[in-house]
């Protein structure tokens, strides 16, 4: 039972003001996105169409706390096929960013490790301008294990022992890979993160 007067009618505007979320209201609930979705094939509860209808109705809490928000593989199949150009991949990313902000503000607990991973990834970029696999893995696992560096390293070793050896043998994770490749003009990258970060706020 949904009582519309208890919902947040402004939620749709909140999404539509977020870059990528602009086309939300064009949706006419045809199911194209969900029928062709490779994730929905594997996870039956996953239904982007429903997430959109709930967003339109203003079911802010239900949408933002929905764990399925975090399992989109951004493969763009839905975006490519949507007859109304809703750009669902971008739209879900916009909703995810709203959820992350809510979490940062302490108003919501996101039920996924994906924000941790993305943050760790972007953190590498911010520091080096390029991806540093090792650094990413260490930071991500530390976060996953509640901030404990040691626990994180142990968990990472467990998950990636075989993989690491395999890559090492192939010369893809040699000593060189222990150190990050860095952009020379570091200040330019720093500026990007600094300014875009400001805009986000």
């Amino acid at each position: 039972m949904i009582k519309t007067w208890e919902l947040d009618a402004n939620f749709r505007n909140e999404i539509m003001n977020e870059p990528g979320g602009e086309h939300l209201s064009a949706c006419f609930q045809c199911s194209t996105c969900t029928i062709g979705c490779p994730i929905a094939e594997i996870v039956p509860s996953y239904n982007p169409r429903k997430i959109i209808q709930m967003s339109l109705l203003g079911m802010r809490e239900d949408v933002l706390s929905n764990p399925d928000l975090w399992i989109c593989a951004i493969c763009q199949t839905c975006t490519a096929r949507c007859p109304q150009d809703v750009r669902i991949s971008d739209l879900l990313a916009a909703i995810r960013r709203i959820a992350e902000k809510e979490e940062e503000a302490g108003k919501l607990k996101v039920d996924s490790v994906r924000p941790l991973f993305e943050k760790a990834f972007l953190h590498q970029l911010e520091k080096y301008g390029r991806l540093f696999d090792m650094g990413l893995a260490m930071e991500y696992y530390k976060g996953k294990e509640g901030g404990s560096f040691i626990k994180g390293q142990l968990a990472m070793m467990k998950d990636f022992k075989d993989f690491g050896m395999r890559m090492f043998k192939k010369g893809k994770m040699g000593p060189k890979a222990m150190f990050p490749e860095k952009v020379k003009k570091k200040e330019e990258i720093e500026k990007i993160f600094e300014k875009v970060g400001e805009k986000e706020k």
Binding site: M1, T4, S31, T32, I35, Q53
Partner: protein, 905 residues
């Protein structure tokens, strides 16, 4: 000069015939080598369209330019000069009917390379060849196996980024195809994947029947892909009830492809200077749906918007009338020339003409063998079996009559249902009484239904039977009566006024009868039209034009009574306040419109002042709107009406105006199907963008309204949703005008759901949307089906056009095949009087001569005998029921029929 028509599809053909039949010179220009356009590709339609094509090919007033294209146009209305593939043509006006093209950028995700995935047009072809095949089975193209499961996917290339608007016709043609499949193969599993079922009137009934009676599964999902897998075509859809993505394996998939403007249209627009809209269609307006921006250039059919055949045909007739008003009648109307019939003589000289029917008969029936057998019939008959087309056959018959003195004709080939009039007319032209001709249908009754050997056998037999009958055919006098060049229009709404103006402008006097004190019909309500115009402005324009037209006699507060007569010569009485006038007229148009429905008792309407109807809400929008939350419910009762075609459009229109007034207004629309067909789809999109929430409910679970709370089970979310509205707006059906019942009886035109029925009912043919079973009486506008103002205007112009075709004639022929009484035998029992469906027989007291022993003795006294009146339409009911054999039907005399039967047994 004359009128040029560009496009030889169903619209062009219709316009050409209307004009040519009223005595205008017509140039019909078609880019292909054949007439028929897209419609000729449709399984059912080709058969229906061919007689019209034959008519065009033989029409003295039509110059046909095939494989020709317009290259340039100069001059202005009244004096256009056209260059058509090198030919110079002068025309006073031009009708543009270039038709449509189908969407051809189908995504490869639909496995279009797979032979078992076909477009709807291709499927029509398959249905046609299945009919013609030996087993009649529908076989899978890939492996020739019987199709057991078939799926139709709608909206391919419509309502999408590539083609923003709705193609209007696909829901109906898909329903028709599904129906045809189920009729022929009842065991086949048929499912239709749809977003909204946008069907109206008869199509709406058909779709409902498909679901309820035929077991066709309508599944709401826009299926994005077809996956060929293990020899089947797999499609996935969302099962909204269970919340799962389900898979269905099908043997065949039909893609219901959308309509696009004809590819030739952009060049045509460039040449003619006609403006096109942003979708590429010719731009017209809601109050002038047939007129382009260039004076003297008119547009019709799918060149103006995607539409169905019925609407295309109506527009074409309407555009023909508009074009005619700028042109001068210069030609003779066929059939109006003086005709003299040669005395046929007692001795039958029979000619049998066997036609190959463009191979359709020749390929199956061994014609030389049949000819051989027929020529051996007793007393000798002349046989011609050389012809292969209708035109060749007609020439052969004419020469047979004129040069060889044949006086009985048997024509074997095409169906009499469509061609009898053509053949009769040709006989008459050649000087033979048209009723000395007999037809045998070799196509439908032999070639299409039998193996070659049986077909040949059957053809020979049927022809021989016809020859035996022909021996006894009699000349039936053909009598003519003058056409009264005046029309009666019933209903003074926009349709009636527009029809009256059309006829009056064509030069005929019109009686316009309105039951209310004022003209205007539903336009009298002060509302904003979808085009942005105000109804009052449109109304004023119409009323001014009508009242200043000298040829239109307006009667308000009046009604029509006591109608008698037939096409071309009717009589009636106009009764009302201050008026009591006997009138006569040649044609009548019924344009009674609709009555507004009052949903008393629905959702507290009538008791709760916050519950209003959609038209009432529309009026409220003229003032201030204080509500914060509005709930609109579509498809609310009461029973007894029909869902108007404009239901969803009226709703969107009101929603958008309300949002304009109060952008923060919360609007919830509770619907079953959103039916914003054609270009109106953009209103739906705009409403969504403005923040309107759409919740879909199931027919079996209508929303509830209790204690100020609306509860609805939204099938989209599969959850109960509650809303507290300040205002509840109900979309209700349109009710038929109250007087329809009375007019139906008086004019003998059947009603369905209270609305007038076209001459040809669905799902077969729809080439006569304004004609009725009563010749000379036409119907239009919301009296037929409640529609938007543009459609009412197009349709009423069409009705006016059809009426003018009739009024343009100087005289008509009385029906020749009627019943006659043998007064000597009639016992006056009166069975025939009861049987007659048109009340054309009465009992009279007549003095009776009695013959006794060869000596005539007149005994004083009278006897009751039956008398057949003018109204007889030749159905033969009386003849078959007459217990004494006194009643007989001309052309179907006992001796004629028995001769035919005797040969058979």
């Amino acid at each position: 000069m004359g009128i040029a028509i560009i496009g030889g599809g169903v619209a062009g053909i219709t316009a050409a015939l209307d004009l040519a039949d009223s005595g205008f010179k017509v140039y019909l220009i078609e880019k292909n080598a054949e007439l028929g356009g897209k419609m000729a590709e449709l399984a059912e339609c080709k058969t229906g369209l061919s007689p019209k094509i034959v008519e065009i090919e033989n029409h003295p007033n039509i110059e046909l330019l095939l494989s020709s294209e317009l290259e340039s146009l100069s001059g202005s209305a009244g004096e256009f000069k056209l260059n058509v593939s090198g030919n110079e043509i002068e025309a006073e006006s031009v009708v543009l009917a270039p038709g449509y093209d189908v969407f051809d950028e189908i995504p490869k995700s639909y496995a279009i390379a797979n032979p078992d995935v076909v477009t709807s047009l291709e499927f029509e072809g398959m249905l046609r060849s299945a009919t013609a095949s030996e087993t009649g089975e529908l076989l899978r193209p890939s492996d020739g196996k019987r199709v057991k499961k078939i799926g139709f996917i709608q909206c391919i290339g419509s309502r999408c980024q590539e083609n923003e608007i709705c193609s209007t016709a696909c829901c109906a043609y898909t329903a028709k195809e599904a129906w045809e499949v189920k009729e022929r193969y009842p065991d086949m599993d048929v499912c239709v994947f749809y977003m909204d079922i946008r069907v109206f009137g008869k199509d709406e009934e058909l779709a409902a029947e498909l679901k309820d009676k035929y077991g066709v599964k309508y599944i709401r999902s826009r299926v994005p892909e077809v996956i060929p897998e293990n020899g089947a075509l797999s499609v996935k859809f969302e099962n909204l009830e269970k919340g799962t993505i389900d898979k269905l394996d099908l043997d065949m998939v039909v893609l219901a492809v959308g309509l696009l403007p004809s590819k030739t249209l952009s060049r045509l627009a460039e040449i003619t200077g006609v403006k096109t809209d942003k979708y590429g269609y010719i731009e017209t307006s809601i109050t002038n749906p047939l007129e382009t921006n260039v004076e003297g250039l008119f547009a019709c059919g799918t060149a103006t918007a995607p539409m169905k055949v019925r609407e295309s045909v109506a527009q074409a007739s309407g555009a023909a009338l508009k074009a005619a008003l700028l042109s001068e009648r210069t030609e003779m109307i066929p059939g109006q020339e003086e005709r003299k019939y040669v005395e046929a003589g007692e001795e039958p000289k029979i000619g049998v003409f066997i036609c190959g029917c463009e191979g359709e008969v020749r390929d199956c029936v061994d014609i030389p063998a049949v000819a051989e057998r027929v020529s051996q019939l007793k007393d000798g008959v002349f046989v011609n079996s050389e012809t292969n087309t209708m035109e060749e056959a007609m020439e052969a018959i004419e020469s047979g009559i004129v040069d060889q003195g044949l006086n009985r004709i048997v024509f074997a080939g095409y169906t009499p249902r469509k061609y009898e009039d053509t053949v009769r007319d040709r006989c008459a032209k050649a000087g033979l009484n048209p009723y000395l001709m007999e037809m045998v249908n070799l196509r439908e009754q032999c070639a299409w239904v039998h193996e070659p050997k049986e077909a040949t056998e059957s053809a020979a037999g049927l022809i021989a039977m016809a020859v035996e009958r022909a021996r006894y055919l009699e000349e039936i006098p053909v009598e003519r009566y003058p056409v009264i060049p005046k029309a009666l229009v019933i209903g003074g709404g926009v349709s009636g006024m527009n029809a009256a103006l059309g006829i009056a402008d064509a030069g005929y006097e019109v009686y316009l009868v309105e039951k209310e004190p004022e003209l205007g019909g539903s336009l009298r309500e002060e509302i904003g039209l979808q085009s942005g115009e105000k109804s009052s402005d449109v109304l004023t324009e119409f009323v001014d034009k009508v009242s200043s037209n000298e040829r239109i006699n307006v009667y308000t507060n009046a009604k029509v009574e006591d109608v008698t007569g037939r096409a071309g010569s009717f009589k009636a009485k106009i009764a009302g306040e201050g008026a009591n006038e006997d009138i006569d007229f040649g044609a009548c148009i019924i344009a009674t419109g609709t009555d507004e429905s009052v949903p008393e008792g629905y959702y507290g309407y009538g008791k709760d002042k916050n519950v209003v109807t959609q038209p009432e809400f529309g009026k409220m929008l003229g003032g201030t709107l204080s509500a914060n939350t509005v709930v609109m419910i579509q498809d609310v009762g009461p029973d007894g009406g029909v869902n108007p075609k404009y239901g969803s459009i009226e709703l969107m229109n009101n929603v958008l105006k309300a949002k304009e007034k109060n952008p923060d207004l919360n609007v919830f629309v509770l619907y079953q199907d959103i039916k914003t067909y054609g270009k109106w789809e953009v209103l739906y999109k705009e409403a969504r963008e403005k923040g309107v929430i759409f919740l879909r409910y199931d027919k079996d679970k209508p929303p509830k309204y209790e204690d100020g709370i609306v509860s609805v089970h939204d099938v989209i979310l599969n959850d109960e949703i509650q809303i507290k509205p300040d205002l509840l707006v109900l979309s209700t059906p349109a009710m038929p005008a109250e007087e329809n019942e009375r007019l139906s009886k008086m004019f003998k035109i059947p009603l369905k759901n209270g609305f007038f029925l076209e001459a040809q009912e669905r799902p077969k043919m729809k080439l006569t949307p304004v004609d009725t079973v009563n010749e000379g009486v036409f119907i239009c506008g919301s009296a037929v089906y409640p529609a938007l103002i543009d459609e009412c205007i197009a349709m009423s112009s069409a009705a006016a056009s059809r009426a003018c075709v009739l009024l343009a004639k100087d005289f008509l022929e009385t029906p020749a095949v009627t019943s006659v009484v043998d007064e000597l035998i009639c016992s006056g029992c009166g069975v025939c009087v009861d049987m007659c469906p048109v009340e054309a027989i009465e009992l009279t007291e007549e003095p009776v001569p009695v013959v006794t022993f060869g000596v005539a003795t007149v005994i004083g006294g009278t006897k009751r005998i039956a008398k057949v009146n003018d109204g007889c339409m030749g159905c033969g009911s009386c003849a078959s029921y007459c217990p004494s054999g006194a009643m007989s039907l001309k052309h179907f005399r006992d001796k004629q029929v028995y001769a035919q039967l005797d040969y058979a047994v």
